[in-house]
């Protein structure tokens, strides 16, 4: 067990270094974007004089390293700064939106993960049957359309033709839990359709990959029923790749939902990030990206820990 703690601590340390590197990359990228906040805010109405004045007021006339270090200093004191465009505190701007994003991601994951596992195992069990083919074609077709289009189709059938679910997911903070689930059903389903195929196919592949192993052969020769072979013998050894792909998709559910947010008018963090990139609002872009990066790092860590815990051999490898 101590080994595990050591691994976690070491990985967290690496995680911090990664975050620092991400912040430098993002800062550099935003710097390299053509134009700056002053021009973006003023748009066609910009004159040289007003742009210069606005830059001076926002401190954009300082050199890039100077601005980066000033920002970094603030972060070490727990201050992510103010949005340059709306002058609001970044933390208060991001907080409620991130919790919205997290809620939607968990909602979608709660449906997608069990569904994908079930389909994947069943497809491996009945491989090359009609069921396997139909599941494959179905899930692959679902990921063949861009996700905004999948959203449109769901809206057409479940909100316009049959008004069962609301087409807009404009939630408010004081909304009841069940009402929230109802409002978020369509975006959650869209995301379920988007991530299920990948997880299901990887689960299926991971299991099928093991079926030729001697120990599975052995179990089968002993006369163990097919489903037991898979659930009892193959699945435990397939956990590592499955957990990995699940973690990857969970990260996607949190970081990749801009389009779904736009289509369903859901106040999540993705829209904020895209708007801030357009306006070159550096503190907000930076904070959003760091949150995403941290989410990714933590999920990856969780996946690795999960893989180690599920596999005794990995636990005692080193």
């Amino acid at each position: 067990m101590n080994d595990l703690v050591a691994i976690v601590v070491k990985r967290l340390g690496f995680g911090l270094v990664t975050l620092l590197a991400v912040s430098i990359i993002i800062f550099g990228a935003v710097e390299l974007l053509p134009g700056d906040l002053a021009q973006a805010v003023l748009g066609q109405g910009a004159t040289e004089e007003t742009v210069r004045e606005l830059r001076a007021q926002l401190g954009l006339d300082r050199s890039p390293p100077e601005r980066y270090l000033a920002w970094l200093g603030g972060v070490f004191q727990g201050d992510f700064g103010q949005s340059l465009a709306s002058k609001k505190d970044v933390a208060s701007l991001i907080g409620p939106r991130f919790s919205n994003t997290l809620f939607l991601a968990l909602y979608a994951a709660a449906i997608a993960v069990p569904l994908a596992m079930f389909l994947g195992i069943a497809a491996a069990l009945y491989r090359n049957s009609w069921f396997d083919r139909a599941t494959n074609v179905g899930t692959l077709t679902a990921i063949s359309s861009p996700e905004f289009f999948v959203g449109y189709i769901l809206i057409l059938f479940l909100a316009i033709k049959n008004p069962w679910f609301p087409a807009l997911s404009n939630v408010t903070p004081d909304m009841a839990f069940t009402e929230r689930l109802n409002r978020l059903f369509l975006p959650a389903m869209t995301m379920v359709l988007v991530v299920t195929a990948h997880m299901m196919r990887m689960t299926r592949a991971a299991i099928i990959n093991l079926l030729a192993s001697p120990y599975i052969e052995m179990a089968r020769l002993k006369g163990v029923p097919q489903y037991k072979v898979i659930v009892k013998h193959a699945l435990p050894n397939a956990w590592a790749p499955i957990i990995n792909v699940v973690a990857l998709n969970l990260a996607y559910l949190i970081t990749g939902v801009v389009l779904v947010e736009v289509v369903f008018v859901y106040p999540g963090i993705g829209q904020l990030l895209v708007d801030s990139v357009t306006k070159r609002d550096f503190p907000v872009v930076q904070a959003c990206c760091l949150i995403f990066a941290a989410t990714y790092i933590l999920l990856n860590l969780a996946a690795d820990v999960g893989a180690i815990v599920s596999n005794p051999r990995l636990r005692h490898r080193k």
Partner: protein, 353 residues
């Protein structure tokens, strides 16, 4: 309930009953499921539903027949190892290969096949399908069919270029890291983690805003974003292989790193890489479509399927089928590629049952 739907239901019922009586499980389950679906659809939306179901069944049967003959043709034409492999190939794999072949022909000979030019304005906006334009016109009155054909060239070309580039970089770096180990491995691993920690759509948005949206920068940026994924996969698969005895033996023989990568490790790590290729290939379309949603895809008037879906997407809310055409083109290719991938996976897993 009309005679058409009734006869369809009756035919399905007969097939199910026969399959049950003769204990053909592989026949009984699907026909019973289709029977149930048809019954529900017909009850819900009447004859139009029954016609849709009948068409779908027709399409499945038609493509099975086409796949069967295509496989037979290939078996006749090919020799040796390939012939043997094909004799055991499932129909789905043959179907996949047929579709890929057709798409490649469309892509290579687009100017010869397409009746009109890529951006040529033929009729009015959203002209209905007629003799002139077999799939109708798009929002500017350009021929949908011609644009689909050109779209095959642009979309598939872009996707292949991007995926190949990403796999080339990802696998070679991954294999290199696995063989070298030590600080090289650590350094590459950290770098890759950093890139992967940035959400891909946002990173693409930033990079494309900086470098512009020419086709070349689109390819390079997406390949750059996908490389870390491939690297990680290769590294994890290869990590299990480098500790094998035969690698140790090859090292002792004094083989070069390049040789080890190419001849010893890659062939044994191919299966998961192929599986990944099948999906990654299709994710490129979607990323490009997503980027065009944010205003940064392939430049018009160049036709690409993702943007064609995007341009006409709003029509779907009124039950118009136009955006479904390019979406179906993507779906067909995705499914086909993965059918072939499944077959390869199955062969490489060594399963005989």
């Amino acid at each position: 309930m009309t005679t058409f739907s009734l006869s369809l239901l009756a035919a399905l019922l007969v097939i199910s009953v026969l399959a049950y009586l003769y204990r053909r499980n592989s026949m009984f389950v699907p026909s019973a499921v289709i029977l149930a679906i048809t019954a529900i659809v017909t009850l819900y939306s009447g004859e139009s539903g029954a016609i849709v179901v009948a068409r779908l069944i027709g399409i499945v049967i038609g493509s099975s027949v086409a796949a069967y003959f295509f496989r037979a043709l290939l078996i006749v034409l090919l020799r040796g190892e390939a012939k043997k492999a094909l004799q055991t190939a499932p129909l789905t794999a043959a179907f996949g290969m047929l579709v890929i072949l057709l798409y490649s022909i469309a892509a290579l000979f687009a100017p010869q096949i397409a009746p009109y030019g890529e951006s040529e304005i033929v009729g009015s906006s959203y002209a209905l399908a007629d003799d002139k334009m077999i799939l109708g016109g798009d929002q500017l009155g350009r021929d949908m069919f011609s644009r689909l054909i050109y779209g095959a060239r642009n979309t598939v070309g872009l996707s292949i270029a991007t995926t190949c580039l990403a796999f080339l970089m990802g696998t070679s770096l991954g294999l290199f890291a696995a063989i070298r180990g030590g600080w090289v491995d650590q350094l590459l691993g950290r770098m890759v983690d950093t890139v992967m920690a940035i959400p891909s759509l946002i990173f693409a948005l930033l990079l494309l805003s900086i470098f512009g949206t020419s086709t070349l920068s689109l390819i390079l940026v997406i390949a750059f974003i996908y490389t870390p994924l491939i690297f990680r996969l290769t590294r994890s698969v290869a990590g299990n292989i480098v500790v094998m005895d035969y690698i140790e033996a090859a090292r002792l023989r004094g083989e070069s790193t390049w040789y080890l990568m190419r001849k010893e490790i890659l062939p044994n790590a191919l299966a998961p890489l192929i599986a990944e290729f099948g999906l990654r290939f299709c994710f490129v379309f979607l990323l490009v479509a997503g980027l065009s949603f944010l205003g940064l895809g392939i430049q018009p008037p160049t036709a690409d399927w993702g943007s064609m879906v995007r341009e006409n997407a709003t029509l779907i809310s009124y039950g118009e089928y136009i955006p479904l055409i390019p979406a179906a083109a993507i779906a067909l290719l995705t499914v086909s590629v993965n059918f072939v991938v499944d077959w390869m996976l199955y062969r490489s897993s060594g399963l005989k049952v």
